[in-house]
């Protein structure tokens, strides 16, 4: 089972993720050039890049500065979400052995704390959805499902690292959760991990090029 989930299934998951995202990007660009021509009449890379950049750094935008607590939580959540799986020692060893690629890793202890931090951030995000009326009103079951898909690999990973319950079973569940997330990204709202750059670039150019209005 372990051989299967780290072998063929991993190939399938990464394949669907990469091909899915590529198809998504291409279809967005094609659709835009067909139906949103107006966007390209006044395109400005400078304004686009600045908008993207300012929204990628913490407190880089006015919107973020006006909601500091939420911004910190969002950043912790997203940074951990990306960094932990990519720089986790165990993952690195696995990729090295299977695919011959390797890079810098976190120490196991820091990865452990970052995972805790991510779970704490996720709890805040969930509580927000329940407690704040303006967030509750737009929250659907789908939003919780997405959070679950995104956080499940971390919870199970944490359990696996600490070898709680039956280690091997937990580990396999962990790998499956990770693969479910990879597969889900191109088909769900999680695709914002790539589409964010498109929509941000659009608004940056849209508001900036013609009007000089900053979108950050």
């Amino acid at each position: 089972m372990y051989e299967f989930v780290t072998g063929p299934l991993a190939w399938i998951a990464f394949g669907i993720f990469i091909i899915g995202m590529t198809v998504k990007v291409i279809s967005v660009i094609r659709l835009a050039s067909k139906k949103d021509k107006v966007v390209f009449n006044h395109w400005s890379w400078g304004w686009s890049f600045r908008s993207v950049y300012r929204w990628l750094i913490p407190f880089g935008s006015r919107s973020m500065r006006e909601k500091p607590v939420l911004t910190i939580v969002f950043f912790v959540f997203h940074v951990c979400l990306l960094a932990v799986p990519i720089f986790l020692l165990g993952h690195n060893i696995l990729w090295d052995e299977r695919w011959g690629i390797t890079w810098w890793s976190f120490s196991e202890t820091s990865a452990d704390y970052l995972t805790l931090l991510l779970m704490a951030a996720a709890i805040v995000l969930i509580l927000r959805r329940i407690v704040l009326p303006e967030v509750r009103i737009v929250t659907t079951a789908y939003d919780y499902l997405l959070l679950a898909i995104a956080v499940a690999p971390f919870v199970t990973g944490y359990f696996a690292y600490h070898q709680w319950f039956d280690y091997k079973t937990v580990l396999i569940i962990h790998i499956l959760c990770g693969e479910i997330m990879l597969i889900a990204i191109p088909f769900t709202k999680l695709s914002h991990m790539i589409l964010f750059f498109f929509t941000r670039a659009h608004i940056g150019s849209e508001m900036g090029e013609r009007r000089g209005a900053k979108t950050w």
């Binding site: 967005v28 949103d36 009326p133 303006e134 967030v135 009103i137 737009v138 964010f196 941000r200």
Partner: protein, 250 residues
């Protein structure tokens, strides 16, 4: 009188039309994070009543239309129109606050278009917009009345500023001046003030007898035909009089 049924085929067609890369992506990725809430003055003015937060208004209008694929009852569309016209002024402030840079204003405009096509635009707005077609301005002012107002304003301010003219339809000027029809109807002094400033600055300008209303209520109502017509009137005037640029009063 029974109200006509909603032309769902038409709505569906519009929905398909709007589903370009932008609308599709925006609706696909809105994470319902709530960053937009405080940016909206409707929301803050109503003591943070969540039903005024931008993302919710979009979910209740365009989101609902897409979800039902246009199959809405007149009652439902009325509710949608009520939000699209009455709970949003399309000021675009929320776009600056959205992490994804989603533009609810454009989506509201699309919804208004669909509501308008089913006769659900606010009657007063629609009536004013239709004036564009008949009179070339939103206030139903005839060309004669307008020219008269200009002459009257010239005379009125003769003493204040001797030699000041409001040149109507003068060809070969540098500048075409267009304004908001409210000025002619309610604040005629505004024309005179502009004329005085142009005069003082030595501007070579003219005022068109047709196509002088630069407001575009067709756009606000969501009526594409009126929208295009109103804009065309201004550009026609500019071409007819051969001006180099257009100044608007706002």
């Amino acid at each position: 009188m029974p109200e006509p049924a909603i032309d769902t085929d038409f709505i569906r067609e519009r929905l398909a039309f709007f589903k370009g890369a932008r609308f599709k992506t925006w609706l696909d990725i809105c994470a319902h994070c709530g960053y937009c809430a405080d940016s909206c003055f409707f929301y803050t003015a109503h003591d943070k009543d969540p039903k005024y937060m931008p993302a919710y208004k979009i979910m209740q209008t365009l989101g609902k239309l897409y979800k039902k694929n246009g199959n809405v009852t007149r009652e439902e569309l009325k509710g949608i129109a009520d939000i699209a016209y009455g709970d949003c002024t399309a000021c675009r402030r929320c776009s600056l606050y959205c992490p994804f840079g989603i533009e609810p204003a454009l989506m509201i405009a699309a919804v208004r278009g669909m509501c308008c096509s089913q006769g659900l635009a606010p009657p007063a707005l629609m009536e004013a917009a239709k004036n564009h077609l008949e009179f070339g301005n939103q206030m139903a002012i005839t060309t004669e009345d307008m020219v008269e107002t200009c002459v009257w304003m010239e005379e009125e301010n003769e003493e204040e500023m001797p030699g000041m003219k409001i040149p109507v339809d003068k060809e070969g000027c540098d500048t075409l001046y267009v304004l908001n029809a409210r000025e002619v109807k309610y604040y005629p002094q505004d024309i005179a003030e502009a004329a005085m400033i142009f005069h003082a600055a030595g501007e070579n300008w003219t005022f068109p007898s047709m196509g002088w209303d630069m407001t575009n209520l067709g756009m606000f109502a969501g009526h594409a035909k009126i929208m295009a017509h109103a804009a065309k009137l201004c550009y026609d005037a500019a071409e007819r009089l051969g001006v180099k640029r257009i100044f608007t009063s706002e």
